[in-house]
């Protein structure tokens, strides 16, 4: 399987999904197009492009040749983003960032504990001071007031 064929298949599935979801929206008429008109038109174009990609994708790189050496880091970073989503308004900006940065510096990058502590505290509290206090960008304080 090549990357173009796999990519094309993904896009084709997306086009079919959009067309399926579009069925609940009124299409309207040509003179009065409804909210479903353009999404359907676009998903049709996307399906055509996806099919071309699949048909012409024979000579692209093989999927097996794609390397994911940074995969472990990528997963951990995505998990951190997920944690930030869940914790930001509950724990507050400073505590959330402190935990997030400590995890990335300490667990993922294995820096020395005092570097982890210093950097995490300085960055989380420092960025809060710059954005919230200095630039008046409202950041969440959470249940603990942090």
């Amino acid at each position: 399987m090549t990357i173009d064929r796999l990519g094309g298949a993904g896009l084709l599935l997306l086009a079919l999904f959009v067309a399926w979801e579009d069925r609940v929206l009124p299409l309207g008429t040509h003179s009065r197009p409804g909210p479903g008109y353009l999404p359907l038109l676009l998903s049709s174009f996307l399906a055509v492009l996806a099919i071309i990609l699949i048909l012409r994708g024979r000579f692209s790189a093989a999927f097996r040749s794609v390397k994911w050496p940074e995969g472990r880091h990528a997963l951990a970073i995505l998990a951190c983003c997920g944690f930030a989503t869940l914790a930001l308004e509950r724990l507050g900006y400073r505590i959330t960032m402190l935990i997030l940065l400590a995890f990335l510096f300490g667990v993922l990058e294995r820096l020395k504990w005092w570097v982890v502590l210093g950097l995490s505290l300085a960055l989380s509290f420092g960025s809060f001071w710059v954005f919230d206090t200095l630039l008046k960008v409202l950041l969440p304080r959470g249940g603990f007031g942090f």
């Binding site: 990519g7 197009p33 409804g34 909210p35 940074e70 990528a74 970073i77 308004e89 510096f105 960025s127």
Partner: protein
């Protein structure tokens, strides 16, 4: 002419206030840092700074963001010359001869010529912007929905062609962006589309989480855990002055790069990258000693760097005069303007002269600030490159979260950013360009509105697009673009886009 000068004076009176001078200075400094640091391109940089401008008046906000824009364009050259790592994509061509010069102990003159060339190109192309934008806006006053529809379609097709790589893939990414831009309330009927009961999606997917996700988070995902970068060279201030011969050799490339860059900047697509590529090719072609290229020819630095900065300015012409962004960075700037209640387009220059001319004047000031500050501060900027990436990327991620959250104070935006980061990461692996997605998201509402209005005007007939002359011209141009894209399928050999990819991959041209 007299009116233009009068307006420019009005602009300088707005730009030269102490507060706005400070914002221009800050914008240039932050922009240069953004350009120097790997993983934070100008697009993510502008997006992340957007929330910090909410408390500012529109003129100051625009001055700050524009400063970041051209500061980042300059900053990218520093890493190219000193480390052979382009801070952003437009600096790829500078790597070739800039780094070769650095290896010969001529890093200082390369940096100086890059700065001087950028200054001259930036200043000259502001003159072009000043001359071209007002008449273009006047001309565009005659545009109706059909003209706008075809102009936008042409713009997207040109973007698909100019972005490089496979046009089929680029078009698919544009459509993906347009579909993402359809999420939310349909403004004609009030229907919720693809929002699955999530109220926060009613206003649609914002351009900031999309841009930060695709360019900031995706870059972090792709580079975290990679081996450490090579040693950085640190030039001293006294080494920066180029020789007389180097000045003479650079004059022509700077002039040609300025004109080329400005003209290419107006065309949709990744203008910065393309302009540097074309400028490098032109310089090698016109040189009496083309064999010097790749081995440290100053012309290979002067031309692309000038073209790069001129293109940044050229890209603002259609954005300010027509309200049509030609690439992802102008698209984010457009979104920033809209946040501040300004709608760029044909009426913008007429109705908001202080903001428009203030921006123009601030660009003169900003270019001067860049020249004045960046050369003496190059040693300090270089120090940023010494920060290990394992410390840098968690910091960048923190700024991504805070920047995205602050736009709407909504965690839904962080979810969108994360999803876009993952999407961008996977798309890179599959060799897809992500820039067209951002433009699609921004243009989706404008395209939909103009298309539906056009069809309502014509009672459902698509013939309206060929019955109106301007619209017909745009359609013909769109067809030409499709033909150009199909040409490599018929004729053998590499077209310029394939050669660009080769250059980006570090292969010899």
């Amino acid at each position: 002419m007299f009116e233009t000068l009068q307006n420019l004076l009005l602009g300088f009176s707005a730009a030269l206030t102490p507060a706005n001078l400070f914002y221009a200075l800050m914008g240039c400094l932050i922009g240069t840092m953004v350009g120097v640091l790997p993983g934070v391109g100008p697009l993510a940089g502008i997006s992340l700074l957007l929330p910090t401008t909410f408390g500012l008046n529109p003129t100051a906000a625009l001055i700050l963001l524009a400063g970041v824009y051209y500061g980042a364009m300059y900053g990218g050259s520093t890493t190219s010359i000193l480390m052979r790592i382009p801070g952003e994509a437009a600096s790829v061509m500078t790597c070739i001869d800039g780094y070769a010069m650095a290896q010969k102990g001529r890093a200082g003159p390369a940096l100086a010529i890059a700065a001087i060339g950028s200054y001259i190109a930036g200043t000259m192309s502001v003159v072009g912007l000043m001359i071209l934008a007002p008449p273009l806006a006047k001309f565009a006053l005659g545009f109706g929905p059909p003209e706008y529809s075809t102009l936008l379609i042409l713009g997207l097709l040109v973007l698909g062609y100019m972005t490089g790589g496979s046009m089929i893939k680029n078009l698919a990414m544009i459509i993906l962006g347009l579909l993402l831009g359809m999420i939310g309330i349909d403004h004609f009927t009030g229907y919720f589309r693809f929002s699955y009961g999530i109220v926060a999606l009613g206003d649609g997917i914002g351009v900031v989480p999309v841009a930060v996700g695709l360019f900031g988070v995706a870059e972090i995902l792709a580079s975290a855990g990679q081996p450490t970068r090579p040693e950085v060279l640190k030039p001293h201030l006294r080494d920066l002055i180029p020789s007389g011969q180097e000045f003479r050799d650079s004059a022509g490339p700077v002039g040609r790069g300025t004109i080329l860059g400005f003209l290419i900047g107006i065309i949709p697509g990744s203008a910065h990258i393309i302009s540097t590529f074309i400028s490098y090719a032109v310089e090698r072609k016109v040189s009496r000693h083309p064999e010097r290229f790749g081995k440290g020819a100053i012309e290979g630095v002067a031309g692309p760097e000038s073209a790069n900065n001129a293109a940044s300015c050229g890209a603002l012409v259609p954005m300010l005069a027509l309200g049509v962004p030609t690439g992802p960075i102008p698209a984010v700037l457009l979104a920033a303007l809209m946040v501040h209640g300004i709608n760029p387009g044909p009426l913008f220059i007429k109705e908001q002269p202080v903001i428009f001319w203030g921006l123009i004047a601030s660009m003169y000031v900003g270019n001067f600030v860049l020249l004045l500050l960046n050369l003496p501060l190059v040693g300090i900027f270089v120090n940023f490159l010494r920060i290990p990436y394992k410390i840098l990327y968690p910091t960048i991620l923190m700024f991504c979260v805070v920047g995205v959250y602050a736009v709407n104070t909504s965690v839904v935006d962080i979810v969108i950013m994360t999803a876009m980061g993952l999407l961008g990461y996977v798309l890179r692996k599959f060799d897809f360009e992500t820039a067209p997605i951002v433009l699609g998201v921004v243009l989706a509402p404008i395209i939909e509105m103009s298309l539906r209005q056009s069809l309502a005007m014509s009672n459902g007939s698509y013939a309206i697009f060929i019955q109106r002359p301007i619209s017909l011209v745009f359609l013909v141009a769109a067809l030409v673009m499709i033909f150009l894209a199909l040409k490599p399928l018929i004729r053998k050999g590499l077209d310029w886009r394939a050669r660009l990819i080769k250059a980006e991959n570090g292969d010899a041209l």
